[in-house]
C-alpha cells in the first residue's frame, strides 16, 4: 500500500469512528426508536468540514500554497523587523489615542465588549505573573477575582466605603488570599501544584456559595453602588464640589482602561526588575535558581501575591460595574478561560496576553449567532492551538524550556 492511500484510509477510519461515537448520542431515543437520519445530518457536515481541512493540509504539505505562504512569511518578518527597530512610542501613542477616543465613536454594545476585553486583560496579565513569569501553574486564579469582587461588594454595602478607597483594600485582601494559597503549595511542583490550586479555587467558590450570612449564597449580592467622583464645578456661586456618580458605561470604560494601563505598566516594571529576573530564573530551573542564591520561597510567595493583586483590582471593578456579584461568575471555566488567554497569547509576553484576551473575548462576539457552539469551539480551538502553535501568538522574547519538561 502506498503512503498516500494509507493516509486516506486512516482518514476514512477516523470518520467512521466519529460516526460510531455520534450515533448512540443522537440515534437512540428513550421511546425505544432507532434512527439514523439525525446522526447522519450532523455527521456529514463535520465530515465535509474535516475533509476540506484535510485536503488543504495535504496540499500545503505538498507545497501547493508556497506561492502564497512564502511572501506572507516574508511580510510578517518584515513587519516584525520594522516593529522592533522603531521606537516603541511610535506605536503606543496612536494606540493610546485610539483607546481614549474609543467611547466617542462607538455604541453601547461595542463599549461593553471593550470593557470585557480590558477586564480580561487585567486578569490575564495578573495570571501571567504567576504562570508566565514564575512558571507556577495556577488553575484557581479566578478565586482572587472573586475575593476582590466580594470585598468591594461587602465593604461598599455595609460600610459605605467608596470605590477608590476600596481598590487598594481589595488588592490587599487578594494579596493576602494569594499568600494563603501560596504558602502550603510552595513545596509542590508542576501537576501537584495545578491540582491543589484548582482545589483552592473550588474551595473559595463553595465557601462563597454556602456562607449565607455573609455572601447571601447563590442569590448573590444586589445593589452594589457604582463608583463616584468628586469634581469641582463652576456654577453661578463660584467653585462648588459636586459628586458625580459614574453610572455611565463610558465612565466605567475609562476606569478599567486606567486599571489596565496600570496593570500593563506594573507587570512590565516587575518583569524587568530584579524580582522579574528571579521569577524567570525560578521558571527556567528552580534548583539552579536556588543554588544561585535566589530565595525561591519568598519569590514564589511574592509571585502569588502580585498576581492576586491584579485579579483583586479587576474583581473590584467587576463588582462595581455589574452592581451584582454571585458565585456563578467565579467558576473553574473562567480560570480556564484566563489561562487559555495567557497561553494562546504567549506565556510571559505582555502584548501576547493582550492579543489573547482580544482573541478570546472580542472574536466570539462576532459570531454571536452561533452562541450555542461558542464553548464547543472554544474548547476545540484550545486543543488545536496547542497542536499548531504551542508557543502562542506573540511569544515572549526571553523564554526557555523548563528543565522538568524532559522525559
Amino acid at each position: 500500500m502506498t503512503r498516500g492511500s494509507r493516509v486516506w484510509m486512516l482518514f476514512a477510519l477516523a470518520m467512521g469512528w466519529l460516526f460510531l461515537l455520534l450515533w448512540p448520542l443522537l440515534g437512540i431515543h428513550p421511546d425505544g426508536a432507532l434512527t439514523f437520519a439525525e446522526a447522519f445530518a450532523v455527521w456529514w457536515k463535520i465530515a465535509l468540514a474535516a475533509l476540506c481541512c484535510f485536503v488543504v493540509f495535504r496540499l500545503s504539505r505538498l507545497g501547493v500554497f508556497d506561492a502564497v505562504t512564502r511572501p506572507l512569511a516574508r511580510l510578517t518578518r518584515g513587519v516584525g523587523r520594522v516593529y522592533s527597530s522603531s521606537p516603541k512610542w511610535m506605536f503606543l501613542v496612536p494606540l493610546m489615542a485610539f483607546a481614549l477616543a474609543y467611547p466617542f465613536f462607538t455604541d453601547r454594545y461595542a463599549q461593553d465588549v471593550a470593557v470585557n476585553v480590558l477586564v480580561y486583560i487585567c486578569l490575564g496579565l495578573g495570571l501571567n505573573v504567576v504562570v508566565g513569569l514564575c512558571g507556577l501553574l495556577d488553575l484557581g486564579y479566578i478565586a482572587f477575582y472573586g475575593v476582590g469582587a466580594y470585598t468591594y461588594a461587602l465593604l461598599s454595602l455595609h460600610y459605605g466605603l467608596s470605590f477608590w478607597l476600596c481598590l487598594p483594600i481589595c488588592a490587599a485582601f487578594a494579596a493576602v488570599a494569594g499568600c494563603l494559597i501560596g504558602y502550603p503549595t510552595l513545596r509542590m511542583r508542576g501537576d501537584y501544584l495545578a491540582i491543589v490550586t484548582l482545589g483552592f479555587g473550588e474551595i473559595v467558590r463553595i465557601v462563597i456559595n454556602n456562607w449565607m450570612t455573609l455572601t447571601n449564597g447563590p442569590n448573590g449580592i444586589l445593589g452594589i453602588p457604582p463608583p463616584s467622583l468628586v469634581v469641582p464645578v463652576i456654577s453661578d456661586g463660584g467653585l462648588v464640589l459636586e459628586t458625580v456618580v459614574m453610572r455611565q458605561l463610558s465612565y466605567m470604560y475609562y476606569i478599567i482602561l486606567a486599571l489596565a494601563v496600570f496593570t500593563v505598566v506594573a507587570v512590565r516594571r516587575l518583569n524587568f526588575s530584579r524580582i522579574g529576573r528571579a521569577w524567570e530564573a525560578i521558571r527556567e530551573d528552580e534548583t539552579a535558581a536556588e543554588l544561585m542564591g535566589v530565595n525561591t520561597f519568598r519569590f514564589k510567595l511574592l509571585a502569588y501575591a502580585m498576581g492576586a493583586v491584579f485579579g483583586g483590582l479587576a474583581g473590584a471593578f467587576f463588582a462595581a460595574r455589574m452592581r451584582f456579584v454571585s458565585p456563578e461568575s467565579f467558576t473553574f471555566i473562567e480560570s480556564a478561560m484566563v489561562l487559555a488567554m495567557v497561553v494562546l497569547g504567549g506565556l510571559g509576553s505582555i502584548p501576547g496576553v493582550i492579543l489573547g484576551a482580544l482573541a478570546l473575548v472580542a472574536l466570539p462576539e462576532v459570531f454571536r449567532q452561533f452562541e450555542l457552539y461558542r464553548m464547543l469551539v472554544f474548547g476545540g480551538v484550545m486543543a488545536v492551538m496547542m497542536l499548531v502553535r504551542p508557543e502562542g501568538l506573540w511569544p515572549a522574547a526571553r523564554m526557555g524550556k523548563r528543565s522538568d519538561d524532559e522525559g
Binding site: 437512540i28 502550603p184 487559555a340
Partner: protein
Amino acid sequence: MDYFLQQMINGLTLGGVYALVALGYTMVYGIIQLINFAHGEIFAAGGYLGVIFLSFLTANGFMETHPGLGVGLSLVLSMGYCAMLAMAVEKVAYKPLRQSSRLSVLLSALGMSIFLQNGLMLTQGVYDKAYPTEFTHGGFDFGAIRVSYMQIGILAVTALLLVALNTLVFKTRMGKAMRATAQDKVMSALVGISANKVISMTFAIGACLAAAAGIMVGLYYGSVRYDMGFVPGIKAFAAAVLGGIGNITGAMVGGLIIGMVEIMAAAYLPMGGQYKDVFAFVILIAVLYFMPTGIMGENVDDTRV
C-alpha cells in the same frame, strides 16, 4: 453506632466510585505524565450512555423480563463506547503533543474537556436526564442498617472491576507491557513494546472504569447532567494524587479515603452537608503538605515531582 455503620456503607459506595474514576487518572499519569482533564467528561459520557441504553431497553420491554441482564448489557455497551471515545481523544489531542511541553498537553486536555462537555450538552440538552430506576427499589435490613440493592450492586461491580484490573495489570502480558512503559519508555520500546498501543490501551481501560462509575452514579442519584463530570473528576484526581499518583493501589485507597471523608463530614460536622465538596480538597492539601508525593507515592527527590 448503627448510624455510623450506615454512613460507613454509604462512604464505601461513594469511595468505590471515586476509586474507579481515580484509576483512569493514575494509569494515564503513570504512563505519559498527563492530567487527563477530559477523563471527568468520559465519566459523564458513560453516565449518559447508560441512560440512553437503559431507556431504550426499558421502552422495548426488555428490562421487565431481564432487569439484571439489561443493566449488565448497558454497562458493557457504555464501557465499550467510552473506550472508543477515550482512544479517539488520545489520538486527536494528546498523541501529536508527545514531544511538547507539559503545559501544552495540559491545555490541550483542558480544551478537550470543555469540548466534550459542550458536545454532550449540545447533543443531550442542558437539563437533567432521569434514569429509569423502577428496578432499583428494595434492599436488605440488618437491624437498623439498610443496604439497598443499588449499593450492593455498586459495591459488587466496583470490587469486580478492581480485581479484574489488578489481574490485568499484574498477571497478563499487556499489564507487564504497561508497567514497563510506565517505568522506561525508551527501554521498553527497545525490547519491542509498542508505546502507542500501550497508551491507547491504558486510555481505553481507564475509560471503561470511568464509564462504569458514571452509570453507577447515575443509577444511584437517579439522573445525569452534562456537567456532572467536573466535580467528581477533580475529586477523583485528588484521590489519585492523595494515594500517590501513578500508583494503582494508591488510587484505590485514595478514592476510598475521599469518599469516606466526604460522607463522614456530611454526617457528623456542623454544616458538613453544604461544605462536603470542600473536604476532599482540604484533605488533599493537608496530606500533600506533609507528604508531597502522596500516601503511597514513591519517595522521589523533589525535582521529579
